[in-house]
Amino acid sequence: MYDAPTLERDVTEAKTKFSARNVQVWYGDTHAIKDVNVEIEDNTVTAFIGPSGCGKSTFLRCLNRMNDTIDVCRVEGDIRLDGEDIYDKKVDPVQLRAKVGMVFQKPNPFPKSIYDNIAYGPRIHGLARSKAELDEIVENALRRGAIWDEVKDRLDAPGTGLSGGQQQRLCIARAVATQPEVLLMDEPCSALDPIATAQVEELIDELRANFSVIIVTHSMQQAARVSQKTAFFHLGELVEFGETGHIFTNPEDERTESYITGRIG
């Protein structure tokens, strides 16, 4: 599996999008994230890997404050998006989420038409002033989601009637439609078959041109294929963070090595 051309990949120097300092997360009494420090760059795919329950999804959900919806969850520390503290009292989480889009593990299109699925975000954020503009946004988003050709003739069909892979690409298109700056993806391929996975991975690589993409994945192969940076989480700690090629071929921490060679996890 490690014959993927991970080493040749060059990483251009990019500006920091997210920076996290001493982030702690508690679920009630459980200390789920312990002291995580990480810098996430723009126009880069960053993969979070690690065994189940290691906190990678929890950390991801901190980045657009989705954890706010969980009553018992408490986040401490400092997370900055473009230098602004996203947990500042003045920050409205709704505005933050418009900037930091999210794609979930299970494809979750709204039970509405394909068009309405995409148009919902732009509508509530007032991104389109006319029907024509909205049409254009929808088309662009669907093209970005690499699903336009498959659905352009049936935009009125329900989004839930698509296949799993199409649904997930629809969800990605929906996230893209609100013109976010960062895309969070929580195991976006875990419910998909290999062909759909390949399509979504290809799409992620294309999205890198415009967004900072953060992807949580169980599959190390996937992390190796799509990401430039990889963060390895274990038991709530960020064990190692660096160039993907480096992590997979020459890990510094022995826990990382154990995980990627299959001894833990």
Partner: protein, 448 residues
């Protein structure tokens, strides 16, 4: 070690020999299936018996015996001044109409050629309902120009005559009846053959008001139906918005703490509170404290709202809970606020469940009697329909189940028949509501 101690390998036996265990298991399964079928059949038998009994006993109420009599509306009696002044005409009471009815009936009997032992017109008049004179008077007051003409009237027959033709009253029953004799029944038979007495559909039963104890033939469910209707308007108008708002808040916005737990437990408890308790609460709160008018559909509706609220809250919360959380995540993920997520996505998906719960709650309220007893909605309401929206809510009225209860209480067996007939109407309403619930659910579900 010898291999003699090893058990015989299981697979040595053919698949075709069924072993004792399998036999037992199969028998147990067959038994269970039989119990199930028996249980379903018993349920069905009860249903058939129930519906059969209701239909057999109640269908009679939808038929009514009428006596067709041409009545000469004598101007000398009805309008002595001859000015056709409506006030003068109204001054003539039903007593003034009695001679007209008696004459008309006597002539009709003679014309039909039926010979009878009854010697006087006053005796013959016992064939007619006591309301016959009032029936004619109402017609005359509505159309004063009829005075002086001979008008064919379809007068209500007395309840005994009606019962006799329906088979409820037997000849041997009337020997001790002071209202009617065998001679009357003989005449009834003859007039029936002559076509003077006919049976027809009883529209007045569906549209009319209650009548006094001695005139069951005149009693109808219409006014109490309106009472129920106005109550349901109150219940729907209050319990749907309050119930849905409370459920959305509790389910989607409220923090999880002791206090909300307490509220939750209490809502479940409220749903199990006997309805008569809500009745006495309504009596204390709405009538004695707030001084709202007694027997008014408004008060009935408020009381039933208290009773329906927990049902609606529970079913609404259940249907909100059944909306997959991924939809909320999806909405929040594209930057919708909590409220947008709920109102744009969760609520529409929960709508079929909410509607079903509401309609079932309403149906429950429609059939509820006990609380109405305590707030005085079991009155004797012989007046006609309320003449406006305000009076519909505020004037004393009864409700369908309360009216049925009233009729069932009365001594005359004719009222017993009316009570069953009322049950048929009530059931038709309930079934209609349930069908509407099903149709709405289907229609809303089709959108997804």
């Amino acid at each position: 070690m010898t291999d003699a101690s090893l058990p015989e390998p299981r697979h040595a036996r053919s698949l075709r020999d069924v072993d004792a265990r399998t036999n037992r298991r199969n028998r147990a399964e067959a038994r269970f299936r039989a119990y199930g079928i028996a249980a379903v059949s018993i349920g069905l038998v009860f249903l058939v018996v129930l519906l059969g009994a209701i239909l057999i006993n109640g269908v009679g109420a939808f038929q009514q015996t009428f006596v067709n009599v041409p009545v000469y509306l004598d101007p000398a009696k009805l309008d002595k001044n001859g000015e056709r002044n409506i006030e003068d005409i109204k001054k003539v009471s039903t007593f003034g109409y009695n001679p007209l009815v008696e004459n008309a009936l006597l002539e009709t009997v003679q014309a039909s050629g039926a010979d009878t032992e009854l010697d006087s017109a006053a005796e013959m008049k016992k064939l007619l309902s006591a309301s016959a004179a009032a029936q004619i008077r109402d017609t005359v007051i509505a159309n004063p120009e009829l005075i002086g003409q001979t008008v064919e009237f379809r007068l209500l027959a007395a309840s005994r005559v009606d019962g006799y033709l329906k088979g409820r009253v037997k000849r041997e029953d009337v020997t001790r009846d002071k209202n009617i004799d065998v001679a009357h029944l003989d005449l009834t038979d003859k007039l029936h053959d002559a076509g003077v007495i006919t049976k027809g559909f009883n529209l007045a039963f569906i549209t009319g008001a209650d009548a006094s104890e001695s005139r069951p033939e005149q009693a109808g469910l219409g006014v109490s139906m309106l009472g129920s209707f106005f109550m349901m308007l109150v219940v729907l108008g209050l319990s749907l918005p309050i119930g849905v708002a409370a459920s959305i808040y509790l389910e989607e916005f409220a923090p999880q703490n002791r206090f909300t737990d307490l509220i939750e437990v209490n809502i479940s408890n409220l749903a199990a509170v006997p309805s008569i308790v809500f009745g006495i609460l309504g009596l204390a709160a709405f009538i004695q404290f707030a001084h709202l008018p007694q027997s008014a559909p408004l008060v009935g509706g408020l009381t039933l709202t208290l009773m329906t609220l927990p049902t609606i809250v529970i079913s609404t919360r259940a249907s909100l809970k059944s909306v997959p959380p991924s939809i909320r995540d999806a909405a929040l993920g594209v930057g919708a606020s909590k409220m947008q997520a709920v109102f744009h996505h969760v609520l529409p998906m929960a709508m079929p469940g909410i509607l079903t719960g509401t309609i079932i709650g309403l149906a429950q309220a429609l059939g509820e009697t006990a609380p109405l007893l305590l707030i005085g909605m079991v009155g004797y309401i012989a007046t006609n329909a309320p003449d406006g929206l305000a009076s519909g809510f505020l004037d004393p009225n009864s409700a369908m189940p309360a009216q049925i209860f009233e009729w069932a209480k009365r001594a005359d067996p004719a009222y017993y028949e009316r009570a069953w007939g009322g049950i048929i109407i009530l059931l038709v309403f309930l079934m209609t509501m349930n069908i509407i619930a099903i149709i709405l659910r289907r229609r809303f579900e089709r959108r997804w």
